[in-house]
Symmetry: C2
Subunit: 244 residues, 2 copies
């Protein structure tokens, strides 16, 4: 961990983000009560400087919240990328999840009290936060729907669409997206086994919906059919699935 120097943080350039809305004075205040962490993949971050939790802001890379069962089964319940805010104020108590880096990552941890005091004096920042939180709730709702009654291939289709949206794409043109985490974490996020992810990815390729290339890159070839599949439309079968 090193002391934050917010003024040189890449996030403050974005006027839409929370950090981008802070005054120079507030940035100074935050700087004094925060620190950046460089995390290697699989490294965990203790979000509690004291007992009341903290606020984590992702500067670079991808981090996730992970739950582990007693026999080792693991689930990643959410993932966060550049600019995302993980508000863990007060979450210290009965939280079963912990933060883990899904790729090499860099995060900023802000103490609860300092964060709170900035919010109190800055309406804009407060609204930016609630907006972020609403966005997260919406994403988590979609994710719960994915984990719910969808089959593995539908789930994967949904995941690709989630990536598509979170990458900032909107149109229907072929888009190249980067899977933000390795297969094994993707499996934990989608509540599948890595083997199943691999098989379904291949199926999606065979169905001509996507095209994979090196470096975790995936090209979406048919966004419409991918959406149909994610919505439960055409069932798994590759060529002429048998409907009852």
């Amino acid at each position: 961990m090193s002391v934050c120097n917010c003024k040189s943080c890449p996030l403050i350039d974005n006027g839409d983000s929370l950090c981008g809305r802070l005054t120079s004075k507030q940035l100074q205040e935050i700087s004094r009560h925060s620190g950046t962490f460089a995390l290697k993949r699989r490294a965990t971050l203790d979000p509690m400087p004291s007992e009341e939790g903290a606020v984590i802001i992702v500067i670079d890379g991808v981090v996730g919240t992970q739950n582990t069962l007693t026999d080792g089964r693991q689930t990643i319940t959410a993932y966060y990328t550049r600019g995302d805010i993980v508000d863990l104020r007060g979450a210290a108590t009965h939280m079963h999840a912990h933060l883990i880096a899904l790729t090499r990552a860099q995060v900023c941890r802000v103490e609860t009290a300092a964060f709170q005091s900035v919010l109190e004096s800055n309406h804009e920042a407060c609204f930016a936060l609630t907006s972020k939180l609403r966005e997260q709730i919406s994403l988590m709702g979609e994710h719960a729907a994915d984990l719910g009654k969808k089959q593995s291939i539908e789930r994967l289709a949904s995941f690709l669409l989630e990536c598509h949206i979170r990458s900032g794409y909107n149109d229907s043109k072929p888009a190249k997206i980067a899977i933000p985490m390795p297969r094994i974490s993707l499996a934990d996020y989608m509540a599948l086994q890595p083997e199943t992810v691999s098989r379904c990815m291949r199926q999606l390729e065979d169905m001509k919906l996507i095209e994979t290339s090196a470096g975790n890159l995936v090209t979406i070839r048919d966004l419409v059919r991918l959406k149909e599949l994610a919505a439960g439309g055409s069932k798994p079968g590759l060529n002429g699935a048998i409907e009852r």
Copy 2:
């Protein structure tokens, strides 16, 4: 739908809640831009008076957000009870879920603009909201963990614990909780089939962890073992499960 009269709303008595922190003048303002709805079970509520969504506050009963796949499979991604706030401002666009009453319910719908303007003039209310939102994120995280890699009986154990907490219990004494929704909705919430819910409920009874009684009431007989089970501890087997 009928026009709101916030002054007579049962929610404003609770000083911790958002509504309870509003000034008399703000309550008047809200009253003019909100309405209450009485919903029968399974009735859906269109959260959009216009295009920019709205804020829904649950006055009584239980409502949930439901996603339906093209072939009829259904998932309930979250449920809300008295005092809970469903902030759907701006969610109108690409939201696949819709609101549905899981029991007979009464809700209040506040227009986006009015809600926003009150937040701008009332810090306390704004913080109450973010606190609620954080709580929801935390709950949804736990729920995602439940849907993830847990087996059906572990999932049900988790659900009972969620009810336990959301009912306001804290101690380890035998507690009687009310399942807030019918089995069929519970199945949709836990991503199981009603048949499976029924079978697992019986198993939990056979294991002496719970006791069911009429009217959706469940008594938790052994909170500790229930927690162990929910955390993946003792595997499904009733008497001496075989671990590898």
